[in-house]
């Protein structure tokens, strides 16, 4: 298990590359939904965005590096 790196720099906790990658994909997919017109769907999307951003933070990763 090694520390996750991008361009030679440490970007997340060891062994979390795949999880960080998956969470960033979720964020990329859901963030546009948080702009939509339907208020309730927007609220669900905002919740997913907040949870995903916080999860990345707990793994030591930025939402986008």
């Amino acid at each position: 298990m090694s520390t996750a790196k991008e361009g030679g720099r440490v970007v997340a906790l060891p062994g979390t590359d795949e999880t960080v990658g998956a969470l960033r994909q979720v964020l990329a997919l859901v963030e546009p939904l948080a702009q939509q017109e339907s208020v309730l769907l927007r609220a669900y999307a905002l919740t997913v965005v907040a949870e995903t951003r916080a999860a990345l933070d707990h793994l030591g990763a930025a939402p986008v590096e």
Partner: protein, 449 residues
């Protein structure tokens, strides 16, 4: 004891790996606040600490100035209602937290985005996981929900943890106890002072022995320092294991691991989470890092905070720093000794001797005949300083035995604190700390200045 993982990647990494992640987060955090906040840009420019000049953690600690409550208050005054520290647009905010204002100086305001709230509540949940709180558990919270940080985050965190939460904050002690028994609460969260108040109510008004008449087996405590003796008394009285957590309006900061507040005959450890926060422990006057085993002021830089971030915020809290190995749980996190956290501004200095109220709590509440006490420091006619302790006895303490107990308490206080105190039986009803959010103020300083 079974090892619980709240974040396995962080808990099984080496210290070097976690510190590498910490530095990258510090770097990102610095760039973030510099880019988004006029408050920080001005401070960092003035200190010569622009992000491109800060190339290591040592650079960061040397160049970035400490900030204090007064800095936050001045910014709020000049830029209401959130201050120019705010790094997001107001329409991204979902929560505001405020300090209690008990210092008399002013109330700090912090704003949170949804991700900030998730972050804070998840850090609290980390301590809960170590206390083996699981979905399906019944949790009684005695914190009334308001604009204070702890109350909102505790409430939201338990909802995230899928436990059955009994939010009892607004009820009187009797109602809280009855609801706890009715629904079989096994976990209780309160301050040490309020635990004593709750136990006294159960004993005197309901005739309960809380260790036998309530199924509580774990208690999460915070906000007050305590000694090993007091923690042992609370565990024995309640028949439950104590877990401590420590947070402030600025954020949830640390918690005990599964070892709890007392473990194998010594006080436990509040573990720091280096991948979530840079926590420094500095000498309160020189601002140099203290060594392991020493006490210092807690200085926090919470990493990843979006709305109201802080850089090297000096909390005014003191704590004793311990190395990770001291705990033995195997996590690569240094920590603070459980019970060692207290406010520097609560410290009393009398006749050249400094002490904190939790130290007198230890001596006085070790005596099972004491229900409550109030200490007062006054200036005597000759200009000297006098300490008086009024003691309220448990109702069934025989009147004839009381004078001897008072003498013994005075001797114990002198031996433990190093100060002579006049210990008398109270002739009035002493203040009770029935509101869990009000930190117990058992000492009054009435010296003429």
């Amino acid at each position: 004891m079974q090892r619980v993982y709240a974040n396995k990647a962080a808990e099984t990494a080496s210290r070097e790996e976690v510190e590498a992640v910490q530095w990258q987060k510090v770097r990102r955090h610095l760039e973030y606040v510099y880019e988004r906040s006029p408050f920080y840009r001005q401070r960092l420019d003035a200190a010569g600490a622009r992000p491109d000049k800060v190339r290591s953690l040592a650079d960061f600690q040397a160049a970035v100035p400490l900030m204090r409550k007064t800095d936050v208050l001045e910014d709020l005054e000049a830029n209401p209602p959130y201050g120019s520290r705010l790094c997001v647009s107001p329409d991204q905010l979902v929560q505001v937290t405020m300090t209690g204002g008990t210092s008399g100086v002013g109330q700090e305001v912090y704003a949170q985005t949804a991700a900030d709230v998730v972050r804070a509540t998840t850090i609290y949940a980390q301590g809960c996981a170590y206390a083996s709180i699981e979905p399906g558990d019944v949790v009684a919270s005695t914190w009334p929900v308001g604009v204070t940080a702890g109350s909102q985050w505790i409430f939201a965190s338990y909802q995230r943890q899928h436990v059955l939460l009994l939010a009892l904050g607004i009820y009187d002690s009797l109602t809280k106890l009855n609801i706890m028994r009715r629904f079989g609460a096994r976990i209780l969260t309160a301050t040490p002072s309020y635990l004593m108040q709750l136990e006294a109510t159960a004993r005197t008004e309901l005739g309960w022995n809380v260790a036998e008449d309530l199924p509580v087996d774990r208690i999460l405590i915070s906000t007050e320092g305590f000694s090993m003796g007091r923690a042992e008394t609370l565990e024995r009285t309640w028949g439950a294991k104590l877990y401590e957590w420590y947070g402030a309006t600025q954020g949830v900061l640390t918690a005990n691991c599964e070892h709890g507040a007392l473990y194998e005959g010594k006080l436990g450890m509040l573990h720091l989470y280096p991948h979530m926060a840079l926590m420094e422990t500095l000498h309160p006057e020189t601002h140099e890092p203290v060594s392991y085993g020493e006490e210092g002021e807690v200085v926090v830089t919470l990493l990843g905070v979006e709305a109201s971030p802080l850089l090297r915020f000096a909390t005014g809290d003191k704590a004793r720093l311990l190395p990770a190995e001291e705990c033995g749980c195997g996590r690569p996190y240094d920590g603070f000794q459980s019970g060692s956290i207290a406010r520097y501004d609560d410290m009393l200095k009398v006749r050249g001797v400094s002490f904190w109220p939790y130290m007198t709590d230890q001596v006085i509440f070790d005596d099972a005949t004491v229900e409550n006490y109030q200490g007062t420091v006054t200036t005597a006619d000759d200009g000297g300083e006098e300490l008086t302790v009024e003691v309220e006895f448990v109702a069934d303490t025989p009147t004839a035995a009381r004078p001897k107990r008072l003498e013994e308490l005075a001797a114990a206080l002198r031996s433990s604190i190093g100060l002579r105190m006049r210990v008398v039986e109270a002739t009035r009803k002493l203040p009770e700390f029935t509101d869990v959010q009000s930190k117990a103020k058992r000492w009054l300083d009435q010296r003429s200045r």
